[in-house]
Symmetry: D2
Subunit: 343 residues, 4 copies
């Protein structure tokens, strides 16, 4: 039984971790922290967990986490990089769901996250937790940087094309749409239902923090520079991300459906839909799965990839548990075999 701690148990990724781990046969939740709700029962705040989680929020401190085999950070950016080193020093593994260890270059991190990185020495060691790329590294990692929700959907859409060299790398466009839970559980006027319901908008068109992360991931597999335009949109629904990715095909690109099916054959959580499909975000609601369809509009030389995930599962907590399973030698699907909630 893996003894796990969760730092930041009151946000949406935190409660989603609790939902998954409470039913995971190989994990025991031994500590859940929350700066704001110390002493309160977890299931008082989240009545969906009544009968499944018998924990009380504790202060976020290294002391509270002694005895854990693994700690998840489901915190705002800037917390994990201040605590991870102490935990690792005590042989406690760390899976960070925030952005603290996602970028390799501390200068780039500082530019996009607005403060110097306080643990730059750990950036090198941290493994980017996208199992479809880094499975072997994850198995032996001590520190995992769980990918962002947008980067997961976009990279899975592009990997077969970039790895195989069939698209131009200088003009990729990722138009991505997200449900509102991606913004977290924070009291902010723009996220009120009266503001986000029945409406749609783009945001951060000038530049979004997930842009350098996607670019870094694609460049790593490409081995050279990738030019990408990334525009996120806020959609009036709670869960789900839909990436619509556009790229220009090089000559001699072969059968794209086969390319995708081959690339992801055997992957437990990536599902290539039949030709002509249009994935719905609802079909992956609540589950650790990415469904993908590949199209060439009007049989031209633009390829359009449609990729859907649940931002809180394959885009966050589910992927984190997938990483945990790999790190601890479990069946990769342990605790993650569930079916999307339709309708």
């Amino acid at each position: 039984m893996i003894r796990v701690g969760i730092v930041g148990g009151t946000g949406y990724t935190g409660v989603e971790l609790l939902r998954i781990l409470a039913l995971h046969s190989e994990a025991a939740i031994v500590a859940v922290t929350s700066r704001s709700d110390v002493g309160k029962r977890v299931d008082e705040l989240y009545p969906n967990l009544r009968g499944f989680v018998d924990a009380v929020f504790v202060e976020p401190s290294v002391d509270a986490l002694i005895g854990c085999d693994l700690v998840f950070f489901a915190t705002p950016n800037g917390t994990a990089m201040r605590m991870a080193g102490d935990l690792l020093a005590r042989d406690i593994k760390v899976i960070d769901l925030s952005a603290d260890f996602r970028l390799k270059d501390p200068a780039v991190w500082a530019r996009w996250y607005g403060e110097p990185h306080v643990s730059p020495h750990l950036l090198e060691e941290a493994v980017y937790g996208l199992p479809e790329v880094n499975r072997a590294l994850i198995r032996s990692a001590r520190l995992i940087a769980c990918p962002g929700c947008y980067p997961t959907s976009v990279q899975l859409a592009l990997l077969p094309l970039v790895e195989s060299g069939v698209i131009r790398l200088d003009r990729i466009i990722a138009d991505v749409k997200s449900g509102v839970s991606g913004a977290g559980r924070k009291a902010e006027i723009p996220m009120l239902m009266s503001e986000t319901g029945e409406s749609l908008k783009a945001y951060s068109v000038k530049g979004h923090r997930h842009w350098p992360e996607i670019k870094q991931g694609l460049e790593q597999v490409a081995g050279r520079t990738v030019e990408l335009t990334f525009v996120p949109h806020l959609i009036p629904m709670i869960r789900g991300i839909h990436a619509t990715v556009y790229a220009e095909l090089n000559a001699g690109y072969g059968d794209l459906q086969t390319l995708f099916e081959e690339r992801y054959r055997g992957e437990p959580f990536v599902d290539i839909l039949p030709p002509g499909s249009h994935p719905d975000t609802r079909n992956v609601r609540g589950v650790n799965r990415c469904q993908i369809a590949v199209h060439r509009p009007l049989d031209g030389n633009t390829v359009v990839i449609l990729s859907v995930i649940d931002n809180l599962v394959k885009g966050a907590a589910g992927q984190a548990v997938q990483n945990m399973n790999l790190m601890f030698g479990l069946d990769e699907t342990a605790g993650l075999r569930s079916i999307g909630l339709y309708p």
Copy 2:
């Protein structure tokens, strides 16, 4: 392993049965029928089931169901009563999720469902599948009439009060709100998103088919006539029912919180919330659970019970599987231990 067939696998209760049964360790899905989609793969229609259900729709006929231990009817009203007898004669047990066997009096059934009942002899045998009332009978039943979604939420809200005699039985009001999936997967203009989104209305105020069912259920436990006003409402959400039930307390009614907690102690799927709570339908989304809170506004002698379920789970497919578990001597919670999807 129980061999199960599902008649009517293309509606929302049918696909919800599939979602639950596909992960049930003691059940094997051996036949799924659909009049309209014969020959099509189930997971072509429902891509959330890809990798979990490997079946093809077959014609709805008794022959197709030979070899089943149990058949679920997830059909429109009027189908089960035409096939159940033949199945029972072949020693195949039946759980009907439609209304065909819910009312004991064939004359009442005919009045509310607009045609004569064709198997009135089975009405006597059929057991009303509300485990919180009929657990012992269900264990030995061959034919289960699964309660309607509204009746489940309202009866669970009222049972402790009616059984204990603390309320007047001549002036009960049940104001109930339902998500749109309760209307089923039918091509009808009033159920378009443009019609039901961002709006709210009552319907069938003159009289709704679930009224005689609720009345029958309450009168059975009361042992006498119950007068009930029942008004259903359509809410712009997909899943969930919230019953708000009003009754007048008799003198000497005692502590109501304790009454409810005692009544449902040990019930695996009824959860009495702490005093002062207001249940959210989201907290039972996707799960077989009823959460209930009890209030006396302004400390007066009106009791208000708030009761929430997921109409497709505890209000339909989940409760059906709970009945199956009881009929086949399994752990009552088999296949049903899951946590509500929040947010």
Copy 3:
């Protein structure tokens, strides 16, 4: 041209006032205050007003409002009662959309609003701005207490029955459902879309501030004590209130459809639907209208009234402008002739 000021122009009732008044041919907006956004253009915060409102937010102070003929308060409770006296002393009329002047008894006000009333002498003078009851008084009033959204929907549903004495006054139940905009434009976690979307709950079942207001209004027309249970619910939509009101008929109650049609004949903003109707909140979206239907379920002696309004229009800003029209001798419908936005 009436020179109007708006105190609290950044909340939903404030921006709704702006939307209506900007197109009102007899009103000129001369001052819009906001504590938090002084110096900012109104249409920067609300781009829907671009080209229609050419104002800049100013500090909320009596000085900023000198020169107005009329000031609307679209503020949280507790503001209007601190400024209204000074404005009235300068011959500036006041329409308060908050709760400060709705209750006649300062002790009752203090109990429900959690502080002593600072202008109890104005409570007597204030006219409750429900034109369907107080039209004559409104015409000559200096200070209007605009009714709450719930009280508007419930009182309009009950007035014909209470005035005519056809129902028992000791067992009225008002089960009322509201869209989330009724909670205002405040940064609070429970009002995030992730919290309120796709879910439904009751709240304040123990007792809600609108209860004494409804009770006072009904008792005034009844001339005696009224016992009412009032339970509000939060619905996953932005605009709209649906009141479902239950009462017990006395003997000899006559034709209820006619009773309602007669009572509201000539009322420009109350519309009695044909027998058998079920009003949708969408049909009054964005407009100053109450649509009502009357039912007797199963022809029994319980009457059920269904009443819908847009909480921000007939439940707030529209009704406020209706009051303004009456106070200044304009056509009562000036600026309010518009059609509900369907779909």
Copy 4:
């Protein structure tokens, strides 16, 4: 007073025409047709129109429209092309909101709409009713082809760039998102709220009928071939379109904000937002307005234009009335001065 007829008054564009025209001071609705609801009052089907529209549905026939000055077709594709000739021959002007007269080449029309065009001689005469391009022609036209909703949003986003030659014309991408009312008022399972709520998907990625229309419009102003990828998406909201358009800038493109502001200076219904803005569809809800923002992500040479309209207003009925105003020499804004419904 212009005497107008509406053919197809039961769809969403039809009822939206009624909503606008009922309050238009220069138009009188003299005939509303509906194949399915002949003899029924219009306001029985659409209770939002009670008190504003006093008409009864009649059979769709030329006879029923004699006496009209103008007929709007708010019909499925294929109807207007069968009736328009007869109406024009009787000196009745025609504004077609369907696709029948949008494409100039009958062969292209036949390929995308699946049948031969029955009135190819009228295609030449028909004026494409985008006032921002064809204002002068519209003033003297007898037959208007009202643009599609997607083409309106995309063309308004691109016109300044294409006309001025600052972008490459061989690699334009339009990723467009629409609310569900764009699919019309048809009883189809994919448009049920249970299917479209809380989910998001692309559709017709292979090729959509609005693609040749957009291409034709852009090529007309460019004077040469335009290559465009167009992908529509279905969003869980009722009204609103958001186009996100990507293009590659040529060298020496100048200040884009100024380019857009200059191009649309004086346009009553196109509003260029300040630099850095992200338009929300809600801000144009219910109104005849397009709001646009221009961005260069990371100051690169990709331009991203964000363009929002209400698909039923500037994308259909509002634009049709704007055309009517021009054709009949009225103020172009008559009947269209209204403010977006926020929240």
